[in-house]
Amino acid sequence: MTFDLKRQLPVLALGLVLVVGLFTPLALKLSAFGFWLEVLLGGLMAGVLYSLVALGFVLIFKASGVFNFAQGAMVLFAALAVARLAERMPLWAAILVAVVIMVILAMVIERVVLRPLVNQEAVALLMATLGVTYFLDGFGQTVWGSDIYAIDLGISREPVMILDKWIQGGILINRDDVAAAVVAILLVGALALFFQKTATGRALRAVADDHQAAQSVGIPLNRIWVIVWAVAGVVAIVAGVIWGGKLGVQFSISLVALKALPVVILGGFTSVPGAIIGGLIIGVGEKMAEVFLGPPLVKMFDLAGGGIENWFAHMLALLFLLVRPEGLFGERHIDRV
């Protein structure tokens, strides 16, 4: 890899802003180290969820060039399925059945939506996934109901105190957060192995690079699309179960897709590591901004404060669109004219 200073400048700048932004509260003694660490961890946990949703986006975008607006709806649908099925069977069985459901859903979407629209304008496909979004939102309610449902992961909700020997007051962390992080790391690791080490993974990467050439070596696009939508479905299940287990399964899960959008802009639409790192940056960034940027603003300008969490990610994404539209790790797009 060659190192091009001018090209890497935005990355370096972002890194610098991150480091300064992260440590300012400590340096200015705005916060005790323990509390600061708690905010950081909280941000990372939220970031893991963003990463998972963004991962679904990236997988589908890479393989089919489709911007899948329905990723959030898929998370909701999967979470609803697991929550309601778990009322009748053990959780692991519910998750297995949900996997089957998501695979079938992938097949149906490929057959009914993607195949007829192949080679159409990107906008047509985007609109189609928008249609899928609303269908899944509604259909999920039709099948599973529209209340708020709980997913019981069987993990104690009692937070644990750690590091209380070293840090005054210690740090409280939730067991389910830790479990979520572990599961997410395992999932990403498994996906990376699948993509790098198996023939199917190689075929997936080939399709992501060049449709035409992939077909010419006998890779059937249709089957690859089913696989990649199914994988995105499985990722949606993991995200849905983690989210649902924490906050309950409800319609607002679907809106997490809107948070994943800035993540993919930040990380790059075609980069799996980008989705993960982008998710973590946005998760941590918005929590830090909310907690440590809000109060000074209130003090200085007599504002009401709050709400920073809602816009921070999108402003960061906007900034990236201006400076580095391909994202941190995306492929640079150069058109020949």
Binding site: F194, A199, T200, D210, S216, V217
Partner: protein
């Protein structure tokens, strides 16, 4: 460069029966007639060239053979079987591989992985078996890898095995494209302007690889070029297209002497 009268082929090669037959194929895009009533055949183990000036319909012809375009009229027979609605990946399954004029490599993948995709069709273990790498899948991967190493040796790509394909210079990318196509052990290999944009040395290398593939692997070659001199040296028979019509068909010497061909290339003085 003086064109040698004799072919560079080793005489061991045996030209076989007709393997691919094009019968009265017409293809139009709206009002533009890309191909009109084109017929020709390709015999097993031969090197068959399709030449013609720019816009003659060469690429269209190749894309019809490959199933990218579907002709409005006419038939194509491959090994005696007629096919109507060919699709690129089905063509690959049937034993027709191709390379691309504007190199379509998997740029983010290593040279080795690129060529491995050519073996994709020969892999039969399921996704789950691959994922957990149980015996058969593992064995299969190793088996395919051996074949791919053979192709890598054959095209002298050893030093670039682990290099990301998109980072190679142009001439080498073309060679990787050829390697990927050969890796699928096709019966017929379609080459879309394999020499385009190359310097003389690269062209000579490419000619050698094509002839070696034809000779040692027995691959039937159908190639498109608009550089006539190169084609004449390596082809057994040549089809000449102009404005979507076939204007000549025969050995390089016959074609070279054909008045219609001379007119098409040099511009007729009417």
């Amino acid at each position: 460069m003086t064109a040698p009268e004799t072919h560079l082929h080793a005489p061991t090669r045996k030209i076989g029966e007709v393997i691919l037959a094009v019968e009265g194929v017409s293809l139009a895009f709206g009002g533009v007639k890309a191909l009109q009533e084109v017929s020709f055949d390709v015999r097993a183990h031969e090197v068959r060239a399709i030449i013609g000036p720019n816009g003659a319909g060469k690429s269209s012809m190749l894309n019809v053979l490959n199933g990218v375009y579907h002709p409005q009229r006419g038939k194509i027979r491959f090994k005696g079987k007629e096919f109507a609605d060919m699709e690129p990946h089905r063509a690959a399954v049937m034993g027709i591989a191709r390379t691309f004029q504007n190199i379509a490599l998997f740029k983010g993948m290593s040279v080795l992985d690129n060529i491995m995709t050519g073996r994709n069709l020969r892999m039969h273990s399921g996704i789950l078996a691959q994922a957990i790498r149980v015996g058969a899948a593992e064995r299969e991967e190793i088996e395919q890898r051996v074949r791919v190493e053979h192709i890598i040796d054959f095209l002298e790509l050893q030093p670039y095995r682990k290099t990301q394909a998109g980072r190679l210079p142009y001439g080498l990318q073309k060679r990787v494209d050829l390697a990927r196509a050969l890796a699928s052990e096709p019966e017929v290999l379609l080459l879309d302007e394999p020499m385009a944009g190359m310097n003389l040395e690269e062209k000579q290398d490419m000619c050698r690889y094509i002839l070696d593939a034809n000779d040692q692997l027995g691959t039937t070659i159908v190639l498109i070029e608009h550089d006539m001199s190169v084609v004449m040296d390596i082809s057994d028979r040549v089809v000449v297209l102009d404005y979507g019509r076939k204007i000549a068909d025969g050995t390089p010497d016959e074609v070279r002497a054909n008045q219609a061909v001379i007119d098409a290339y040099l511009g007729a003085s009417h």
